[in-house]
C-alpha cells in the first residue's frame, strides 16, 4: 500500500483547469505578528452547503494576479458555515492575502489530499506532536476528538513554537484541556512572558509515557522537527503503521497532475499530505529528495 487510502475523496472532474470558485472573507483572526486565520464562505450558498472536508485536507486559495497557494484547513470539519485557513505571510501569494480585508473575494478550490485517519484511530491513545505552523492542519483533529471524545483513549498534544509570541490559538488551550486533551505547550526560547516549558518538541517527547501497542502519533511541523519526533516515536517502539505525518511541498494543481509536489512515487497533494510513515520511510533520510 502506498499512501493513505483516499477513497472517500473524489477529485472533481472539471471542464476548466484551475477554475476557481469564489469565496468571501467573512472574518480575520490575527494569531501572531505574521500569521492570521482567514474565515471564508463561498459566495454561492449552494456551493457552501455542498462543501465538506476531512481533518488534514487543504484548499488552494487563489488571489487573482498573484497565484494560488496550498493552505491547510484549520477549522472544525463539522462546522459547515465557514472554512478557516491559518496562513503565515511568507511568500508572494500569502503576502497578497495579508493585504486583503473582510468582504474581499478570493478563489477557492478544494478540498484536496488525504486526511488524518480519525476513524481508524478510534479506541487508541492519540499523541499529537507539532511545531509552529504545523498546528493548524491538526486543529481539525482536535475539534473532531472533542466532538467524539468518548471514542478515543488518552489524548496528548505536545505543541511548540519559537517564542511565546509565536504560539497559535493560545486562548483555546484551556478549552482543549477541559475536553480532557492534555495540551502541553513548549517554546524554543523563553522570555519574560513565559513561565512554561522551554525546549524543542522532540526534546520533551521523552517525558511522556506512551502505550506502544495502542498509540497513534500524529506529527506536522518543520521537517527537522518531524524527523526527530519520528526517531523518538520509533525509539518507543510505536509501529510505523501508527505514525502519521503531514508534509509540505510546493503544490500548484492539487490533483497530482502538475508534478511539483513529488516525493518519490508520491504526489504529496494527492497521495498526501498525510502519510502513514511506513510509506515514507524509504525516502525519509535521503537528503534533498
Amino acid at each position: 500500500m502506498a499512501a493513505l487510502q483516499t477513497t472517500a475523496i473524489s477529485i472533481s472532474q472539471t471542464n476548466h483547469l484551475l477554475e476557481p470558485n469564489w469565496a468571501e472573507i467573512t472574518a480575520i483572526t490575527n494569531e501572531t505578528s505574521d500569521v492570521s486565520t482567514y474565515w471564508l464562505k463561498f459566495v454561492d450558498p449552494s456551493m457552501q452547503a455542498g462543501y465538506s472536508f476531512k481533518p488534514g485536507q487543504f484548499n488552494m486559495i487563489y488571489v487573482p494576479g498573484f497565484g494560488e497557494s496550498a493552505i491547510s484547513i484549520s477549522s472544525d470539519s463539522e462546522d459547515r458555515d465557514k472554512i478557516g485557513h491559518t496562513i503565515r505571510f511568507v511568500g508572494n501569494v500569502t503576502r497578497a492575502i495579508s493585504r486583503l480585508k473582510i468582504g474581499d473575494i478570493v478563489g477557492l478550490r478544494g478540498p484536496f489530499g488525504s486526511p488524518w485517519p480519525v476513524q481508524e484511530m478510534e479506541g487508541k491513545d492519540i499523541f499529537i506532536a507539532c511545531g509552529g505552523i504545523g498546528l493548524p492542519p491538526l486543529r481539525p483533529v482536535i475539534y473532531h476528538i472533542m466532538h467524539h471524545r468518548e471514542k478515543y483513549g488518552k489524548v496528548t498534544l505536545l505543541y511548540g513554537a519559537r517564542t511565546s509570541g509565536d504560539l497559535m490559538y493560545p486562548t483555546e488551550y484551556d478549552e482543549w484541556r477541559k475536553a480532557d486533551i492534555d495540551a502541553q505547550i513548549t517554546v524554543d526560547r523563553g522570555d519574560a512572558n513565559w513561565s512554561g516549558r522551554v525546549g524543542v518538541v522532540p526534546m520533551w517527547f521523552y517525558q511522556f509515557r506512551l502505550d506502544a501497542r495502542n498509540t497513534a502519533v500524529l506529527t506536522c511541523g518543520p521537517e527537522i522537527m518531524i524527523r526527530f519526533v519520528i526517531y523518538e516515536a520509533l525509539a518507543r517502539r510505536i509501529p510505523l503503521e501508527n505514525i502519521f505525518v503531514s508534509l509540505e511541498r510546493n503544490m500548484k494543481c492539487g490533483q497530482g497532475s502538475c508534478g511539483h509536489c513529488q516525493l518519490g512515487p508520491y504526489f504529496v497533494c494527492k497521495d498526501g499530505p498525510v502519510f502513514r510513515f511506513d510509506a515514507l520511510q524509504p525516502y525519509f533520510n535521503v537528503e534533498e529528495f
Binding site: 477529485i11 487573482p64 500548484k252 518519490g264 512515487p265 529528495f289
Partner: protein
C-alpha cells in the same frame, strides 16, 4: 490495381507512394489539420503540412550526445529522418495554454474561461517511441480520477499515422525500452516505407473509410518479409542501449550514491532534457495582470524539475542543488514513474541525449551506476 474492397482492420495493404496524398487530402476534407515532420532552419520540426512534398524526403539525421545534423541520404525515403527537438507533445500538451481571464467587478472577479476547442490534428509519421510517449501521457492526463480538460479535448480527436522506424539515429534506444522500432498499437494507420511502396496497416474504422475506393493491393508476402527484415535490421542498429533489468530498484536503491554529485558537476540545469522529452509533463500556472490591476489572465505553461523555483517552498528549496534536481529527473523517469503509472517514463527516443549541451547521456549514467553498485 484499383480495388473496390475496403481493407479490413488489421490488414496490411500496399499503395503507390503518391496515393498517400489522397489520404492526406481526405483527412483535410474531414476537417483535420495535417501535422508532419518538416525541414526548417536546417533542423526538423513538426508543423502543418499540405501534402507529401513537404515531408523531409531524402533526409536522415545524424545524432549524438549534444549534436544533431540533417543530412541527405543515398536512398530516398519520406520517413527516414529521426525527429529533432520537437515532439507531438507540443500539440496535445501545448507549452502555453490560456486558461481564463478575470475582470475586476466590484469586490470580486468576473471569469471568462478560454475556449477548449483546438483543431482536430492528424499526426503523420509518429514513430513507435513517440506513440509510446503519447500513451504514457494519456496515463498522466487522462487518469480515471482526473482528466485534464485541455489534454482530453485535443487527444480524443487525434488521427494517428504511425511509422515503423527503419533508420534509427545514434542516440536511439527504443529497442531497449521495448517500445520499438516496430509500432504495436494505438494508431489509425501504421505505415512502413519500402523503396517503391508504402505498406499501410489499418487500425481504425475511420482509417478504413478514408481508404474507400483508393488504389491499393494487398501486401504481398515479399513486401511483408522485406518490411519485417528492415524493422529487425533497425532494431539491431540502435545507437544506444539501456539495460532495464531491475531498473526502478537500481535507481531507488542508489539515491545516496556519490555518482549523482558527479553528474551534478557536469549538468547545467538548463532543463533542455525536460523540454524535449516527449513524456515530461510538469506544468506551472502563471498570472499576467494588466498594469491597471483590472484584468488578469491565467496561463498554463511547461515547467521543469531543473528550474530552481520548481520545488520552492516558504521554508526554502526542497532541491537546492543541481545534483538533487538531476537525481529527481532520472529517478522519476527510470524509477518512481513505474509505481505511479505502471511503466517507465522513458521511451528511448534519445532526445535528452542529443539536446543536452553538456552531452550527458542517461544510458551511460545508468551503466555507470550499475557498475558502481556491482
Amino acid at each position: 490495381m484499383a480495388n473496390n474492397r475496403r481493407p479490413e482492420i488489421g490488414s496490411t495493404i500496399a499503395i503507390q507512394k503518391p496515393v498517400f496524398n489522397i489520404i492526406l487530402r481526405r483527412l483535410q476534407e474531414n476537417g483535420y489539420q495535417i501535422i508532419g515532420p518538416r525541414v526548417k532552419n536546417e533542423t526538423l520540426v513538426y508543423g502543418s503540412i499540405e501534402n507529401m512534398d513537404e515531408l523531409p524526403y531524402g533526409y536522415i539525421t545524424e545524432q549524438k550526445a549534444g549534436a544533431f545534423r540533417l543530412i541527405q541520404a543515398d536512398h530516398k525515403h519520406y520517413f527516414d529522418a529521426i525527429p529533432g527537438a520537437q515532439s507531438w507533445k507540443q500539440f496535445l500538451f501545448p507549452p502555453c495554454v490560456d486558461l481564463f481571464t478575470l475582470r475586476k467587478n466590484g469586490n470580486g472577479w468576473e471569469i471568462s474561461n478560454s475556449k477548449l476547442d483546438s483543431p482536430s490534428y492528424a499526426f503523420i509519421g509518429v514513430r513507435a517511441c513517440e506513440l509510446a510517449a503519447i500513451q504514457i501521457q494519456d496515463n498522466i492526463f487522462m487518469r480515471p480520477d482526473f482528466a485534464d480538460p485541455t489534454y482530453r479535448e485535443r487527444r480524443q480527436r487525434v488521427f494517428i499515422v504511425s511509422v515503423n522506424c527503419l533508420a534509427p539515429a545514434g542516440t536511439c534506444f527504443c529497442a531497449s525500452m521495448g517500445n520499438g522500432p516496430r509500432v504495436k498499437d494505438g494508431y489509425d494507420l501504421n505505415l512502413t516505407e519500402l523503396d517503391d511502396v508504402f505498406l499501410l496497416t489499418v487500425g481504425s474504422e475511420l482509417a478504413r473509410s478514408l481508404l474507400d475506393g483508393i488504389e491499393y493491393e494487398d501486401a504481398s508476402a515479399f513486401m511483408l518479409t522485406t518490411a519485417e527484415r528492415s524493422i529487425e535490421r533497425a532494431a539491431q542498429q540502435m545507437g544506444r542501449t539501456l539495460d532495464t533489468n531491475d531498473l526502478p530498484e537500481l535507481v531507488l536503491k542508489n539515491l545516496d550514491s556519490p555518482h549523482w554529485k558527479e553528474i551534478g558537476e557536469r549538468c547545467l540545469s538548463c532543463g533542455n532534457c525536460t523540454q524535449v522529452c516527449p513524456t515530461c509533463f510538469c506544468w506551472d500556472a502563471v498570472d499576467q495582470m494588466s498594469l491597471d490591476g483590472k484584468t488578469t489572465s491565467r496561463t498554463r505553461v511547461w515547467d521543469s524539475c531543473f528550474n530552481p523555483g520548481y520545488s520552492y517552498l516558504a521554508g526554502g528549496n526542497t532541491r537546492p542543488t543541481i545534483s538533487s534536481r538531476y537525481r529527481q529527473w532520472l529517478s522519476h523517469k527510470l524509477g518512481t514513474w513505474k509505481e505511479q503509472y505502471g511503466t517507465l517514463g522513458c521511451v528511448g527516443c534519445g532526445r535528452c541525449i542529443t539536446w543536452c549541451p553538456a552531452e550527458i547521456d542517461l544510458t551511460e549514467e545508468i551503466a555507470a551506476l550499475r557498475k558502481e553498485t556491482r
